[in-house]
Subunit: 345 residues, 2 copies
């Protein structure tokens, strides 16, 4: 496991992760520079028997492009972390580093799971009802109907594994909730989702404001829209944070109010950032790879580690496989196909 | 002018509009039921010489589909309002009613301006630096490269007319700021925008969080993404509002803080809702049509009226026309086309 902030976040993060995973036998391979990791590790005796350092002094910096990472990434901490999943040395990899490089190296080394066409990067979004899973938030720039249905399958299996909910509800993001709304891809995906028996409950189309409302457990969209809207919401959340600060320094009454309400305000800010529920897996591969937010602190990094552990010890991969086979059966049946094309007209 | 809340919002809204347009000779045709509008109007003597009621007892309700509105909308208040722009009786139309019906009837009666391929619904988004114009937020479900460039042209002309800024900066929404990011349509639009001399400054790609930062004056995206992200941000804003309320009732200190800071909090909430800067024009037609938010109050409705008046008295249509001609010249030049296709590979 490498990290953007490096061992000063990752190692204390593992301490928090061990606490939160109490009773579970979890061990960590930490990939990186032993000269830096070693002293940091020595500060936390509880980690002593749980962490093994896998030394490398090669790293992928944030400005490396995915194509460069694939060609020249061998031997870097990120590469080695993913490689350790492939070899079976590890059950999951977590990285707080370069997202594009992580996706590219993971695709290259772990390959897509059987019958999955495209992977999906997945975000956990705080809502008024809890947490909504949103995908794809950036593994793809375009997605056809079949891929959108795959995202629904993978998102539901992830939500089931991490949030513990049987038969999650799934919504397909669109510009309106009526049947005839949207472009061909979302309407065809809608017909496929409605007409197929999966291990989740398809709710139908949802709109942008349904995400924060928590209308469904899983919101499915293409990677372009998902990436843009997650970043837009993060931007709005930061704007709110800044406005709250400036609001509470706008006068003596407001300032006094802020002092009185500071604890509640702190909790609120933390709860509301769409980037705050840390741990975004790249789903659809033969192995678990989880992205931690680049700016994550130790506690937040521990959340990403917990997501990785929970995923690796769940049967989400088998659940995805069962449901993708149902999709393949529908797509292979010309009668079904006909009705789907018709209903999308 | 019709309205969702009807005359009880629209007529007081006109009073505020007259105040804000002080010194300008503006008159209003109010399309709707005289029996309802008349008594409301009688309450505001200052409007007496400024308002003429155009009676109809036919209305388009919120559940009417765009196709129904086109076929059966004749004689309704919305139809008559747009018709009055076409006939020259009015310089602009404002409606707080059914958005889809408004777009459909406007397209049918006013038609697209010369050389414009698709209209665009435009939102004004509060940011940390002021207001950013975002389009398209829902007039289309798909947009090719040429249409994205048209949106840039129309958005810049709108921002110039309404925010008063010469040569606004324009950004194209994408999943990253590097040249090679995104799908073909955004990369081709990027090449066209970079390679053509328009009356605005093209900034390049922007990401979702750049909207709230106010990185550029105008953010261009396809109608699917724009609609979804505007509604997502509105949802996040409402979630924040609810969280602020619950935060400030979570304990005695927080409650006391809220009382002290209540005025500042109220101002903040109003400033931050992406739907709060009211008045969303449908650009690209032979005439000005402005959508007011369905839940707008009288002051907010007045903002939409002011947008309509400012647009109608600006030369934004001529500015659009000049820039679209520049685009057409580039597209008609095979040498240019070649270089654009090449640079988007």
């Amino acid at each position: 496991m490498g990290g953007d902030h490096g061992p000063s976040i990752v190692i204390p993060g593992l301490v928090f992760a061990v606490e939160r995973l109490s009773g579970r036998d979890v061990r960590f391979l930490v990939h990186g520079d032993e000269a830096v990791i070693g002293p940091e590790l020595a500060r936390f005796p509880t980690l002593k028997d749980k962490v093994e350092i896998r030394h490398t002094d090669k790293f992928i910096t944030m400005d490396v492009k995915p194509s460069q990472a694939m060609r020249r990434g061998k031997g870097t901490s990120l590469w080695n972390a993913v490689e350790s999943v492939k070899s079976g040395d590890a059950n999951a990899a977590v990285s707080a580093g370069n997202t594009g490089a992580m996706m590219a190296i993971s695709m290259l080394l772990l390959r897509l799971a059987a019958e999955i066409k495209r992977p999906a990067l997945t975000a956990s979004w705080p809502t008024s009802k809890g947490v909504t899973t949103v995908l794809d938030v950036g593994a793809n720039v375009e997605s056809d109907a079949e891929q959108l249905v795959e995202f629904a399958i993978m998102g539901a299996a992830f939500h089931h594994a991490i949030q513990g909910k049987d038969r999650p509800t799934v919504g397909l993001l669109n510009v309106g909730s009526e049947e005839q709304k949207g472009h061909d891809d979302v309407r065809q995906a809608h017909a496929l989702l409605r007409g197929t028996e999966f291990e989740f409950d398809y709710h139908g189309f949802v709109e942008g404001d349904d995400i924060a409302k928590g209308t469904v457990d899983v919101v499915v969209t293409d990677g372009f829209t998902g990436n843009v809207l997650l970043k837009t919401a993060e931007g709005v959340a930061r704007f709110f944070g800044a406005e709250i600060r400036s609001t509470f320094t706008s006068g003596p009454f407001a300032l006094a109010g802020a002092v009185l309400a500071s604890r509640a305000l702190g909790r609120m800010r933390q709860r509301m950032d769409p980037g705050a529920v840390n741990g975004a897996p790249l789903l659809g591969l033969n192995g678990v790879v989880v992205k931690s937010h680049g700016s994550a602190d130790a506690k937040s990094f521990a959340s990403a580690v917990k997501v990785a552990v929970d995923l690796a010890s769940s049967d989400f991969a088998a659940e995805i496989d069962r449901n993708v086979k149902r999709l393949s059966a529908v797509l292979a049946d010309p009668a079904q196909e006909g009705s789907i094309v018709e209903s999308s007209q």
